[in-house]
Assembly symmetry: C2
Homo-oligomer: 349 residues x 2
Amino acid sequence: MAQTPSRLDILSQEPYNAETVLAEHTGVITPTSAFYKRNHFPIPHLDPSTWMLTVDGEVEHSLALSYDEILSLPRRTLSATLECAGNARVSFDPPAQGEPWKYGAVSTAEWTGTPLAGVLSAAGLRDGVWEIIFEGADRGAVADRDGPIAFERSLPLERALHPDTLLVYAMNGERLSPEHGAPIRLIVPGWYGMASVKWLAHIRASSEAFRGFFQWDRYMMVDPADESRREPLAMIRVRSIFTEPVDGSSLSRGRHHLRGLAWSGSAPVERVDISTDAGESWLPAYFTSRAQPYAWRHWEYSWEPDTTGPYTLQSRATDVHGDTQPVQANWNRLGYANNAIVAVDVTVV
Amino acid sequence: MAQTPSRLDILSQEPYNAETVLAEHTGVITPTSAFYKRNHFPIPHLDPSTWMLTVDGEVEHSLALSYDEILSLPRRTLSATLECAGNARVSFDPPAQGEPWKYGAVSTAEWTGTPLAGVLSAAGLRDGVWEIIFEGADRGAVADRDGPIAFERSLPLERALHPDTLLVYAMNGERLSPEHGAPIRLIVPGWYGMASVKWLAHIRASSEAFRGFFQWDRYMMVDPADESRREPLAMIRVRSIFTEPVDGSSLSRGRHHLRGLAWSGSAPVERVDISTDAGESWLPAYFTSRAQPYAWRHWEYSWEPDTTGPYTLQSRATDVHGDTQPVQANWNRLGYANNAIVAVDVTVV
C-alpha cells in the first residue's frame, strides 16, 4: 500500500531516471507521482500558450497546430502500460550496457488525447510515405554523434495511423505534467516506452526509413552471434512479476496470497502460472483486475506451504497469442527486452 | 481541461458537500482531489493501527478484523462511477427537499479492496439472514429522531454477496483518504452512492428488514400520488449529460465537437443520441472511451450548424437493457433519481 505515493527508486538525477516501487501500489492505475520516469536529456518546460506542433515533410499541407486546436479535435481515452525497453536490464548475466533498471521501469496510466491519424489526415499524406518521424523538444549530447541532438523516433505508417496512437494531453484525468511530456506527447499503446515521444515539437512524414540515433544506434536488439543482425524494438514482450512476497523474505506457515502483475503489449494476458518448487510444477493464478487491451492485470495465488524451509517462487505469463516468458533471458549487448521468468527466494519458518 | 484539478463546486461546509466540475475533466477516472463529496455528518479521522471492523449479528463466529488483516485478504480492483441519488435535484420543478445538487454529484474512480463475500463467509451466515447492515463511524443529529445517530445502511443478501461488492482501501491507486472513507469503506458498484458506506465500523447480519433513518426515512422514492407507496433507491438510473458546450454559450459557425458523459448502474450504456433541434430528430453520438461494467463513458458528436441563431441541444442515453432517459423528470418529494433529458441552450453567431 502506498504510504508515500510519490516515493520513487531513483537511478540518476541528470537526466532524471527513476523506477516505480511496484509493491506499494495496489491499483491498475499508477498514481502520476509514482509513475516511472525515463529521460535522455533535461526536461523541457514548454509554455502551452506559445508552443506549436509542426506537421510537415511528405504532406499536401504543412500544419502548425496550437495546443487549443489539438484540444478541439476528436478525443479518445484509454489505459495503457508503458514499459522501458531496458526494464530488468540489471538481471542480465553478463551485465549489459545501459541504465541498471531493476523491475520498476513500468507503470500504467489512463491517457486522453486525439488520434494522430486525424492530424495526419488533415495534413494529407503523399503517396509513398513510409514512416512518420516524431521529434521531442528535449536535446543533449550522445555518444558517437556530434553536437546536441533531439530525441527523435519514427513509427511505421500503419502504427501511426492506428486509432489508438494518440497525441496526449491528459494523464489519469489531469492535465499532462512537464515530467511526463507536456504540453503534448505521443502515446503508442503496446509499444515499449521509447516510442511514446514526450514534449512533441515536430511530426514529419517521410518516404525513407529513419536512421536517427535513438532509432538505429539504440533501442535495437543486436544479435550477439552476428552484430549485423538487428531488430528494432516495438511491442512490449509478455512478462509477469511478483509484488508480494519480496525476494529474500521470511514467511510464517499458514496461507499466503502471492501477488503480482502481468502484461504484454501485443495482446491481453490470458493466464499466469505459478511454481513454488523452482519450476518443477505449475498451477494457475487468478486475476483480480479485468483484461484490457493495453494495460497490465493483477494476479493472485493462494499458497499454503507444506513444510518449513526454502522455496523458490516463479510466475509465468501467457498472452492470448500464446506468447510466454522464456526461462533464460535473451542476452543482447544493449540489454533490452529481458522478459525471462523471475525467481523469488523465500524461507518459510 | 483541469487547470486546477482540485477545484470543486461547494454546496455546504458542514457537513462538507461539493460537486465535481465535470467540464474540467477529460478522463474516465476523476482525479481524487476533484471527486465529488457528499457527507451527512462531520468527517471522522480514524487511525488504521487501532481501528477494527466488527462483524456480528446472525453469524456463526463474530469477527473483529484489523486493517492489516483486511489487506491480507484476496484483492479485487475495478472502476465504478458513484452518483449521489440527489444529483440534478435542482432541476425538479416544483423544487424538491434536500441539498440543491446540480449535475456534478457524480464521479468515477478505480477502487481496490477485498470482496465482502469472503468476510461474510469467514463469519458464517446463519440460515434466515435477509440483509447485511453497514454502520459508518460518522454520527450526528437528524430530523425527527432523538440524539445523534450513525450513518447506517443495509444491502439485500444477494447484493452483499456479489463478488464486486468490496471492502475498499485504495482509490485511484492510492491509499483511501479520510475524505473518502478511510481506512475502509464499502463500494457497491452500480448503486447510488448512499449504499457505499464510508468509515466502516460495524457489519451486522440480520434476519429482518432494516428500518434505520437513512434506509427508511431517506433514499426512498415516495410516490407523490400515494405516499404509502415507497421504493428504496438502488441501481443508478441511466443518464447522460453535456460537458461541452455549457448552457447559455455562444458558438461560432463551423464544426464543433459536442461532448459529454453517459452512465447507467445496471448495465453498460450502449448508445447516446443527440438532438440539436429541441428533440425533433435524433442522431447517434460515438463513444471515445471503452465500455466497462460500472463506469461512465465519454461520448462525442460532430456538429456543424446550418445557420446562426438559437439551438436547443439534448442527449439521451440508452443502456444494454434498453432503459433510456425520460423527457419529464419523475418528480418525488425528496428529489431523488432525476435522470430526465437535459436541454442545453446555445446561440450560433
